[in-house]
């Protein structure tokens, strides 16, 4: 896919597999957004390394929201990315009691459409999810990760050194069953409330 504009980048992330990697690499190399976020962080108790770290975290959130369909390209992709970064940094400062409401210094007005529940994952739930993931073997983790990222069975087989697509499909099915069983055996209180 030839990258013409930001819409193409969003489509590439949605397509998954190597297209997603390429799109995220292009988004990461957008220096202006990183510089803007870093400048904002420097004005608000942070340093250059925080700017880099939170730019990367913002890309991770952006990727998740695009893949899950929680993002619609109404304005600029990079403005949205910057808003996520700002939100993450503000949240970080609040957690550390470094900022009071209304104290945050911003260069630009916030972009509408940035919803906190699409950005932050509850720490307790994240802990549960990580624990469940760790119960799964690394081979299964890798197979299911690639499958979730829409890699074809041929690509999964090639990447993970399997004989063919059929072997990858069989392994994917087994791992999927295994994970469902792990979840069933380890219910999360929050999931039970769903």
């Amino acid at each position: 896919m030839k990258v013409e504009n930001e819409r193409d980048l969003v489509e590439m992330v949605k397509t998954g597999a190597t297209q997603r990697e390429k799109a995220l690499s292009i988004i990461y190399s957008e220096k202006q957004t990183k510089a803007k976020l870093t400048a904002l962080i420097l004005k608000n108790h942070g340093n250059v390394q925080d700017g880099e770290d939170f730019f990367q975290e913002a890309i991770i959130v952006l990727d998740r929201n695009i893949r899950r369909g929680d993002f619609r390209l109404d304005g600029s992709l990079y403005s949205y990315l910057l808003s996520i970064g700002k939100f993450l940094w503000m949240n970080h400062l609040r957690k550390k009691n470094l900022i009071l409401p209304g104290e945050f210094i911003e260069a630009d007005p916030p972009v509408s459409g940035v919803q906190p529940d699409h950005i932050l994952i509850d720490a307790q739930r994240k802990e549960y999810l990580t624990a469940m993931l760790n119960k799964l073997g690394s081979k299964c983790q890798n197979i299911l990760e690639l499958w979730q990222l829409s890699y074809s069975m041929e690509e999964i087989a090639n990447r993970l050194g399997m004989t063919d697509a059929a072997a990858a499909r069989k392994a994917k099915y087994d791992c999927q069953q295994q994970l469902i069983k792990i979840i069933h055996a380890n219910p999360n209180s929050k999931d039970e409330l769903k």
Binding site: E21, L24, S25, Y28, S29, K31, K34, A35, T38, A39, L42, K43, V48, G51, E52, Q56, I59, I60, D63, R64, G69, I105, A107, R125, K126, L129, T130, M132, L133, L136, Q141, L144, E145, Q148, L149, R169, Y173, Q176, Q177, L179, I180, K181, I183, H184, N188, D191, K194
Partner: protein, 252 residues
């Protein structure tokens, strides 16, 4: 949930969870979910499966971005400091400059007064139009040149009818000024200002030293300045001009 679910069903449940199904496919899986409790359970867990795999994906992306960071050059950040920040420094710098200037100005004022005090206390009366003989006082000064207290006592011992009495009173004041005892000098200068012309200007300078530049100061300054025959009329004008400066008003 011990039963394994068919691969196609699992894929359908996943697609249903992601909202990818419609029409007949959607109706079919919905019916199957109703008919098979284990499908319902699997669908219930599908969101969690998705979230768990997202943790893995995010960890992978985090590593991928770190690699990109290592391979990409550092960005240049144009830092626009918060507006309050430079103002703080500017204000602090202004205060420092103001204090420095004020210090210099205060020092200049003190030099102005000291230089005149030294000049007027060292001038021989004969050079300032004093016609009365001063030899006796000069003798005492020579005798007690290293002992100003003794000199002051000797000068104080001169009787009021002594022809050098007023000169001695002025000299006592000069000696006190030399000892930086301006308060002690003042009564002698007040009592002699009519008789000894230099006492008037010395009194003004002592009052300046003591920052007592109120009514008495202004009145005396006015008299000397507006008396063209007074020996220090011109000097009084200089002092007057000096007291009209901004920095004089700041310190007084």
């Amino acid at each position: 949930m011990n039963q394994s679910i068919d691969e196609k069903i699992l894929d359908s449940l996943r697609d249903y969870h992601l909202g990818k199904l419609d029409g007949v496919e959607k109706q079919t899986i919905e019916q199957q979910i109703i008919d098979h409790p284990e499908y319902r359970d699997a669908l219930h867990h599908m969101a969690t499966v998705y979230d768990i795999l997202d943790v893995k994906i995010e960890n992978g992306l985090r590593e991928y971005l770190k690699k990109l960071q290592t391979n990409s050059p550092a960005i240049e950040i144009k830092i626009e400091r918060p507006r309050s920040f430079p103002w703080k420094w500017a204000a602090a710098a202004s205060v420092l400059v103001l204090l420095s200037v004020a210090g210099l100005k205060y020092s200049a004022q003190q030099s102005f007064i000291n230089e005149r005090l030294e000049r007027y206390t060292s001038i021989d009366a004969s050079t300032r139009g004093e016609n009365k003989p001063v030899n006796h006082i000069e003798d005492l000064k020579t005798r007690y040149q290293d002992n100003p207290d003794q000199l002051i006592d000797s000068l104080k011992s001169l009787p009021a009818d002594h022809p050098l009495y007023f000169k001695a009173q002025t000299e006592i004041a000069s000696q006190y000024i030399g000892l930086k005892k301006y308060n002690e000098a003042l009564p002698y200068l007040r009592s002699t200002e009519k008789q000894s012309p230099e006492s008037g200007i010395l009194k003004l300078l002592c009052l300046m030293k003591l920052h007592q530049t109120g009514e008495e100061f202004n009145k005396s300054l006015d008299i000397i300045m507006n008396d063209p025959t007074h020996i220090d009329s011109k000097e009084a004008r200089t002092i007057y001009d000096h007291t009209k400066t901004f920095w004089w008003k700041v310190f007084n």
